[in-house]
């Protein structure tokens, strides 16, 4: 044994760092339309291959091809594109609002718009999402009022969260949008519990869990998988792999696992990888998983392969840890551009209409912003009352909180 070399620790590192040339040659991308589409009730054991490939529908020519291609109506296509464009415009305005100190914080979705916007369209009223802080497309694709989202971001007098939560921590039950928590991965197991409840009550509703690549390392990810697997809960376990967890590249969370989707295989959960920048592929796979859940066939794991084009948050500067040109080198392109090109090819869209839509959408977002700012922003205008700070800790305010509220002068 003496002849063995001393042990050494492997610490994974990204291929490139600031100043290097972006390199995605290690990302294997199958041609659109080449990945098979299993039957809804196919034995999970027989579809392990799905966890190591990428389901894609839109090809380089912007055609929808292969077994996962779906034929959306022109209206549905326009809707999808519109939602993604609203989300992008919303992000841009809120990013600026944060820089103008109208709010304390913001997190954008740049490059990931297709994931939440398309997924929302696979759900029925009554289904429940357990989102992270980067799925606002679930609200926007549900035609949730932008002004209400902004009221939350500004913590003004009409903030549905009464100024208690940091910006972007939305909650809306009728929208099927569970209250966002700052604690990562906690909602993943809660989604499984919600789905178990639906099954216990012989309901028809399903749940969708959301997590990022980095947070899959949290213990609650594991808890969710074992519970979903044991009870065959009607839940879709979504992983948004945008390659980055703040400054940490996805290899740190993924470790030796080939893909994040492969994590599901050990739990007997059918696990698929999909091109997260392909609106049609996301919607198609989401529908497949939703149908599985509704037919009581159990959970499905979906890894969305995408790229976090923007900074992690308004408190982050990605140039400190990755090349500035990396997002433009990302081989799966831009979700809005890809759907736009498909629609132009298919007929219902044109460059002119796109430019016009961009202007209209920006005007719509700015109008909502003006309305929200007329109510108030973080440092000016109308805020929720301090009195409300003491409410909703419990359903009924206990005596010690009443005393503290009085002490505070309310």
């Amino acid at each position: 044994m003496d002849d063995l070399p001393p042990l050494s620790l492997r610490v994974p590192a990204p291929e490139v760092r600031p100043g290097d040339k972006p390199d995605f040659s290690h990302v294997t991308i199958p041609r659109a339309g080449t990945v098979r589409r299993p039957e809804i009730d196919e034995n999970p054991e027989d579809m392990r291959d799905m966890a190591f490939t990428i389901i894609r529908v839109l090809n380089r020519q912007a055609e929808a091809v292969g077994p996962w291609a779906i034929d959306l109506s022109d209206d549905a296509l326009r809707d999808g594109l519109r939602h993604m464009m609203i989300l992008r415009a919303f992000d841009a305005r809120m990013l600026t609002a944060q820089r103008q100190q109208k709010t304390s914080f913001y997190m954008q979705h740049l490059g990931e718009e297709a994931v939440s916007c398309a997924f929302r369209k696979a759900l029925n009223p009554g289904d429940m999402n357990f989102p992270t802080y980067r799925q606002a497309g679930l609200l926007i694709a549900g035609d949730y009022p932008l002004r209400t989202m902004m009221n939350q971001i500004y913590s003004n007098a009409e903030d549905p969260m009464r100024g208690r939560q940091m910006p972007v921590m939305y909650s809306d039950k009728p929208q099927g949008f569970f209250s966002i928590s700052g604690n990562l991965a906690t909602q993943y197991i809660q989604a499984v519990g919600w789905a178990m409840a639906s099954a216990i009550m012989n309901d028809r509703k399903i749940a969708a869990a959301w997590i990022g690549d980095g947070s899959t390392a949290e213990s609650d990810f594991h808890a969710a998988l074992v519970f979903a697997s044991t009870y065959k809960a009607p839940v879709i376990l979504n992983i948004v792999n945008n390659q980055w967890a703040i400054s940490t590249f996805q290899g740190i969370a993924r470790g030796g696992s080939g893909t994040f989707a492969a994590r599901g295989l050990g739990f007997g959960i059918p696990s698929l990888r999909v091109d997260g920048n392909d609106y049609l592929a996301v919607l198609s796979v989401a529908r497949w998983a939703a149908e599985r859940a509704r037919r009581n066939l159990g959970p499905t794991m979906i890894e969305y392969v995408t790229y976090r084009q923007g900074a992690h948050s308004t408190s982050d500067d990605p140039s400190a840890y990755r090349p500035a040109e990396e997002s433009s080198a990302w081989p799966l392109g831009d979700p809005i551009l890809r759907l736009k090109n498909h629609m132009i090819l298919k007929g219902p869209w044109s460059e002119e209409r796109h430019a016009q839509a961009e202007a209209e959408i920006m005007a719509e977002v700015i109008a909502a912003q003006k309305e929200a700012e007329a109510i108030g922003t973080l440092h000016s205008g109308h805020r929720p009352s301090v009195r409300e700070m003491f409410e909703d800790v419990y359903e009924t305010m206990p005596p010690h909180l009443m005393r503290q509220r009085q002490e505070a002068g309310y």
Binding site: N183, Q190, I200, M201, D220, A223, V393, Y394
Partner: protein, 337 residues
């Protein structure tokens, strides 16, 4: 009236709650088919079926996290953590999620869940079967914390907890499961059979949360305590002859401050007794409140008798557990102060 142990009383509470409301779901490690390692859920799966009472994977965060999701859906989960000593993996779910859900969603989502956990020492449980982590929960806004001391209360408090709209940490002193225990480990084990609180009303009744009970009226000194130490304090009062008023807090959060202050203002002295370790234990909160609310009535400094600031030992069980001798010494000395 029926004679019940605390285990039977708790099981009866679950049975009554499940019978009245099909949203009440019971689960935890070994809680289903087997009926729990302490038998509290025995027979429930057979009676209500495996979707109302079931076994879970060994994952405390999963148990509580799934419970939160069910509660958000609209069910009333009653989950079991096998020992309070094993609740820590679920701490994030309890503190960051269950306790905050109503507040952070402005009441849109709520968490009407009960987290049951056997707690306390006196059973040679060593480090990980004896802890009393209540102070880790009383420090969390949004939780309620309940510790019963007898079968009658156990059933009524558990039913209140299940019907409460907010998350409740329900800590069951396992030393009291089969009989009252006054700390006299050298004597034969007592049973609930001959104890007045072993009489349990059948069917549905509740004991309100947030209300303390006077277990022994007295005029010389107030003893603030809960769980197993209620019985220890009663024994210490009898043995020392000190006319102590023993208050069983029953609910630690929210606290029945009125009962506390009324008693201390009457007696002018206060001894706080708990099994949990001393430093930053719940006794510190009680002492601060008594000092603040009863300062001009106090005739002696507030005393605390608690577990030592060490992990719970195995062989030194009876040097660690605050038994009647230590509590009695505190009662005697505070009368001389």
């Amino acid at each position: 009236m029926a004679r019940m142990t605390m285990i039977e009383a708790l099981r009866d509470a679950l049975d009554v709650a499940m019978g009245r409301d099909n949203r009440v779901i019971v689960f935890g490690e070994d809680a289903g088919y087997f009926g729990g390692v302490f038998r509290v859920t025995s027979g429930l799966q057979k009676k209500y079926g495996p979707t109302r009472c079931f076994d879970t994977p060994i994952n405390e965060s999963g148990i509580v996290g799934a419970g939160i999701g069910m509660a958000a859906y609209g069910l009333r989960p009653v989950v079991e953590i096998q020992f309070a000593d094993y609740v820590y993996p679920a701490y994030d779910q309890i503190v960051s999620e269950a306790a905050r859900l109503r507040y952070r969603s402005n009441g849109e989502f709520t968490c009407p869940m009960v987290i049951r956990m056997p707690t306390g020492g006196g059973i040679f449980g060593g480090q990980t079967h004896s802890q009393s982590p209540e102070a880790l929960f009383t420090h969390v806004t949004g939780l309620k914390v309940v510790v019963p001391s007898n079968p009658q209360d156990a059933k009524g408090l558990l039913l209140s907890a299940i019907e409460d709209p907010d998350p409740v940490i329900f800590m069951e002193p396992k030393r009291l499961y089969n009989g009252p225990f006054d700390g006299h480990h050298e004597r034969p084990v007592a049973s609930w059979k001959n104890h007045p609180f072993g009489e349990v009303e059948p069917g549905h009744y509740t004991v309100p949360l947030g209300k303390a009970a006077i277990r022994r009226e007295g005029s010389a000194v107030t003893v603030l305590t809960y769980g197993t130490m209620v019985h220890v304090a009663e024994a210490a009062a009898e043995e020392t002859g000190v006319d102590a008023e023993v208050i069983d807090l029953r609910t630690l959060l929210p606290l029945d401050l009125e009962a506390v202050t009324a008693s201390v203002r009457k007696t002018g002295r206060c001894v706080i007794v708990h099994e949990a370790t001393l430093t930053s234990g719940f006794g510190a909160e009680l002492a601060a409140l008594v000092q603040q609310e009863c300062f001009y009535h106090l005739e002696a400094p507030v005393r605390r008798v608690a577990g030592w600031d060490t992990p719970y030992p195995h062989v030194h069980e009876w040097s660690y557990f605050p038994g009647p001798a230590r509590v009695g010494a505190a009662l005697t000395s505070i009368m001389e102060a």
